[in-house]
């Protein structure tokens, strides 16, 4: 099962985590990943983070990335949510839950999806603090992580 949502509204990572695979008896391993707004990154003392996105392409790309993971590993369920709009430090940005027979499939599948999402999904972050604002730059480390697959 593959569920992908792109939304402005918040979500509840714990609630999603508990719902994935509920009542199934063939799930031996689940992994959740949540990306959150930090109060520092390119700027210090970040007061808010704006996430812009290219909606139609983002939906296609997230689906492609998840499909690639489903083909590569034994994964029973993938639930992915990515937010856009104006967020604050501590807010949820992205949430991924995978369920499978085995732990290595969910750990590897989860790492793979997040690595590709960071380099292939059209979302952009702009940080704001009291002094001004700055678009976040793509990190070389993120490109290398994707290329390592």
């Amino acid at each position: 099962m593959l569920s992908i949502r792109i939304q402005e509204d918040d979500f509840d990572p714990g609630l999603i985590y508990n719902l994935v695979g509920k009542d199934r008896k063939d799930i031996g391993a689940k992994v959740a990943f949540t990306g959150l707004v930090k109060d520092f990154f390119e700027l210090e003392e970040v007061t808010s983070l704006y996430i812009e996105h290219y909606h139609s392409m983002a939906k296609t790309q997230l689906k492609n990335i998840c499909q690639a993971a489903l083909e590569r590993w034994q994964i029973k369920e993938i639930h992915l949510v990515h937010r856009f709009g104006l967020l604050k430090p501590g807010d949820n940005i992205v949430n991924l839950v995978l369920a499978s027979h085995n732990r290595s499939d969910v750990f590897q599948g989860g790492t793979f999806i997040m690595d590709y999402l960071k380099s292939d999904a059209p979302f952009w972050k702009k940080e704001f603090n009291r002094k001004g604002s700055a678009w976040v730059n793509q990190s070389l480390a993120d490109i290398q992580k994707m290329d390592s697959w």
Partner: protein, 82 residues
Amino acid sequence: MQVYYFSWVREKVGTGQEEIQTNSNTVKDLIDELSLKGENYTLAFSNLEHIKVAVDQVFVSDFNHPIKNAKEIAFFPPVTGG
């Protein structure tokens, strides 16, 4: 065709989306054509190393990629979501 701009490319151009009537054959031709429209475009496209392109929502790494029959072209910096 619809042309989209995101992130600081959008900010420099001054709009996020516009309808363009063009005879350009490739991405590069379109960029050259847009750059003639005004200083905002010239500035936005001044360093193509920092610009990513999607033709009909698919990443295109070669700026000589044809755009005939394309419905939408998007210009933006490397992505930073997640």
